[in-house]
C-alpha cells in the first residue's frame, strides 16, 4: 500500500517497455498488420476495461456496446464543434454517468438480472439513438472527417490500454481495491466491516464505462460514417466477454491472452466466411464457459499449482534420510 515492491517495479517497467515496443509497429507497416493491430489494441483496451469491473465483481456486463457507442457518437456529434481531446473527456463523462445510473439501478440485484439488464440497455440506447436521428435529422448516420490516420488511432488506443492498466494497478493499491478484495471474499463481512458494497461496485463500473466510452471515441474517426448498428453493435459486447473470459480475469493481463489469438481468428473468419461469424462466436462462447471457466491464465495457474504440489512432497521425501 505504500512504496513499490521490487516485483511491482518490475511489472510496471515491463509493461512500459512492451507498450513502447508495440508503439513502434506503425513504423514498419501501415497496411494489414497495422489494421489488425488496431483491432487487437481496441479489444485489449475494451477487455481490460471490462475486466476492471467484471473480474473482481463477477458481474457479466453486456453493456460494452452501449458505452462504446456513446463514445463514438460523442465524437460524431461534436467533431465539428469542439476540439478532439475535449470530446474524449466528454465521452468519458457520458460513459461514467451512464454506468453510474445503470449501476445504481441494478447492482443491488443479483448477477443474472444484471446481465439481462445491461444487454437490454445496450439495445435500448441503440434504438433511442436511431429514433432520435430519424426524427430530428434526415441522415441515418454521422460523418466524422478528421486528419486522424490509422497510426494515430493505434497510438491512442495503445495509450488508453496503458492507462487502463495503470488505473487497475492504482485501484488495486487503494481503499477501493482492498474493498473489492474483501467483497470478493465475503460480501457479508464486507458490509459488516463498513464497506458500502453497492457504492464500491458502482464506482468501479463507472471507471470501466468511462474507459470503454473513450475507446469508442478514439475509434470513431475510423468509421468515417457512424451509424447506430455499427457503433452500438451487440457483437462488441459479446466479443469482449468471450475474449476476456478466454484469457481469464483473475490477473490484470489475463484478458490479453484471449484478445490476441481471438482477434486474429475473428479477422480470418470474417474475411473468409463472413456469413458464419455468429456461429463461431456462439460456439466459442459455449466452449469457453464449459471447458475453461477461469480462462487460459486460470488453466496455467492450476497447472502450476499442481506442479508445485507434486514436486513439494517429493522434495520433502528426498530430505528424509533413507
Amino acid at each position: 500500500m505504500m512504496g513499490l515492491t521490487p516485483q511491482e517495479t518490475k511489472s510496471l517497467g515491463l509493461g512500459a517497455l512492451l507498450i513502447a515496443l508495440a508503439a513502434l509497429l506503425p513504423l514498419f507497416d501501415d497496411g494489414f498488420y497495422l489494421s489488425i493491430s488496431v483491432n487487437i489494441v481496441l479489444y485489449a483496451a475494451l477487455c481490460t476495461s471490462w475486466a476492471l469491473f467484471s473480474g473482481p465483481t463477477h458481474y457479466v456486463s453486456l453493456a460494452t456496446a452501449a458505452f462504446y457507442g456513446l463514445g463514438t457518437y460523442s465524437v460524431g456529434l461534436g467533431i465539428e464543434l469542439l476540439p478532439y481531446p475535449l470530446l474524449l473527456l466528454i465521452a468519458a463523462a457520458i460513459g461514467a454517468v451512464m454506468a453510474g445510473l445503470v449501476g445504481a439501478a441494478t447492482l443491488r440485484i443479483s448477477g443474472v438480472y444484471f446481465v439481462i439488464f445491461t444487454f437490454g440497455l445496450a439495445e435500448l440506447v441503440r434504438q433511442l439513438v436511431t429514433w432520435t436521428q430519424t426524427k430530428f435529422s434526415t441522415a441515418m448516420g454521422l460523418y466524422v472527417f478528421t486528419e486522424m490516420t490509422e497510426s494515430h488511432i493505434y497510438w491512442m488506443l495503445l495509450a488508453l490500454t496503458g492507462a487502463v492498466f495503470l488505473t487497475s494497478f492504482l485501484i488495486a493499491r487503494s481503499r477501493l481495491g482492498f474493498a473489492m478484495t474483501v467483497i470478493g471474499n465475503d460480501e457479508t463481512v464486507a458490509r459488516h466491516v463498513g464497506i458500502d458494497t453497492a457504492r464500491s461496485k458502482i464506482i468501479l463500473f463507472m471507471i470501466s464505462g468511462a474507459f470503454i466510452a473513450i475507446a469508442g471515441a478514439i475509434t470513431a474517426p475510423r468509421y468515417i460514417y457512424i451509424e447506430p448498428p455499427s457503433a452500438f453493435n451487440p457483437m462488441i459486447s459479446f466479443l469482449v466477454v468471450i475474449m476476456a473470459l478466454l484469457g481469464g480475469t483473475k490477473r490484470l493481463w489475463g484478458p490479453l491472452v484471449g484478445v490476441i489469438p481471438f482477434t486474429i481468428v475473428m479477422d480470418f473468419i470474417s474475411s473468409n466466411f463472413p456469413n458464419h461469424t455468429m456461429i463461431v462466436v456462439g460456439l466459442a462462447f459455449l466452449a469457453i464457459v464449459y471447458l475453461i471457466p477461469h480462462g487460459v491464465t486460470g488453466l496455467l495457474e492450476n497447472a502450476q499449482a499442481r506442479w508445485t504440489k507434486r514436486s513439494a512432497p517429493a522434495a520433502v521425501a528426498e530430505e528424509k534420510p533413507a
Binding site: 474493498a179 478484495t181 465475503d186 464486507a190 458490509r191 459488516h192 466491516v193
Partner: protein, 242 residues
C-alpha cells in the same frame, strides 16, 4: 447518561415465524451484557438486527441515543458497531494481518496503510496470533480463525462489540484464555453484548444478562438471580415450547 445501546420493542418476523418478538433492553456504557437462551430463541437474529444484517420488522435500535435501525449494515459498522459471527467468517484468500486490517480500514476509525497495519499487529498479538500474522487464514484452525475475527472486530475500535458464541468450540484451556481476553476488554471499558451458551463464562464475565425464549425476552437482570428465575430454568430444561 444515555445508554450505549437501546433496543426498543425490536421485532423480526420471517413470514409467520416471529424470531424476535418485541424485545426491549438497554446496554450501558462499558457494560458487558450476556444474551442467553435456548437454541432457536432468537439471539443471533437479535444481533443481526443490531448490526444491520437484517432490518427489523418493527421497533427501533439506538446507538448512543442515535437511531441506527433501518440503516444499512455498513453504515451501522461505521457508527461503531462491530461483530463476530456464530459460524466464523474470515476472508479466506487473505492472511491474518490483512483480515484484521479490513476492520481498521473501513470501520469507524478508517485508517490506511501503515497505521492500519500497526493496529492489526497489536491486535493479533493481543489475541495470541502475533507469530502468525502472515499465515493465510484458510490454513488456520477454527479457533484461530475465531481469534482473527475478534481482532478484526476490535480493529474498528467499536463503541459496541457483538460476540455471537465466540467461546463456543474452545477446549478448556483455550476457554480460560478466551474468558480472560473478554474480561480484559471489559475492564478497558468496552461495551459488549455477548451471546453465549457457556454458563461459566456468563457467570464470571457478565454484569447483567437478558434471557430470550421463543423470540421473547423472558428475564433480565443480574446474572445469578436471572439464572435462578423459575421461568428461565423451565426454558432451559425444555419445558417451554423452545
Amino acid at each position: 447518561m444515555t445508554a450505549a445501546l437501546s433496543i426498543r420493542a425490536a421485532r423480526k418476523a420471517f413470514g409467520g415465524l416471529v424470531a424476535v418478538n418485541d424485545v426491549s433492553f438497554e446496554v450501558k456504557q462499558g457494560e458487558l451484557l450476556g444474551l442467553i437462551g435456548p437454541n432457536g430463541s432468537g439471539k443471533t437474529t437479535m444481533l443481526n438486527l443490531i448490526s444491520g444484517a437484517l432490518p427489523p420488522t418493527a421497533g427501533e435500535i439506538l446507538l448512543d441515543g442515535k437511531r441506527i435501525s433501518g440503516l444499512p449494515a455498513h453504515a451501522i459498522a461505521r457508527q461503531g458497531v462491530s461483530r463476530t459471527f456464530q459460524l466464523v467468517r474470515v476472508l479466506p484468500s487473505l492472511d491474518a494481518e490483512e483480515n484484521v486490517m479490513s476492520g481498521a480500514v473501513f470501520g469507524r476509525v478508517r485508517l490506511w496503510g501503515e497505521d492500519a497495519r500497526r493496529i492489526a499487529r497489536v491486535l493479533l498479538d493481543r489475541v495470541g496470533l502475533g507469530d502468525r500474522a502472515h499465515m493465510p487464514v484458510a490454513a488456520m484452525t477454527y479457533i484461530d480463525q475465531k481469534r482473527v475475527e475478534l481482532a478484526r472486530a476490535l480493529a474498528a475500535d467499536p463503541r459496541v462489540l457483538l460476540l455471537d458464541e465466540w467461546l463456543a468450540g474452545l477446549n478448556p484451556s483455550e476457554l480460560q484464555i478466551g474468558i480472560s481476553l473478554i474480561d480484559e476488554l471489559h475492564r478497558e471499558g468496552r461495551t459488549i453484548v455477548m451471546v453465549e451458551h457457556v454458563m461459566d463464562a456468563i457467570r464470571s464475565l457478565c454484569d447483567r444478562c437478558v434471557v430470550m425464549s421463543s423470540g421473547r425476552m423472558i428475564a433480565e437482570g443480574g446474572v445469578s438471580e436471572t439464572l435462578s428465575d423459575p421461568e428461565v430454568v423451565r426454558a432451559y430444561l425444555g419445558d417451554d415450547d423452545a
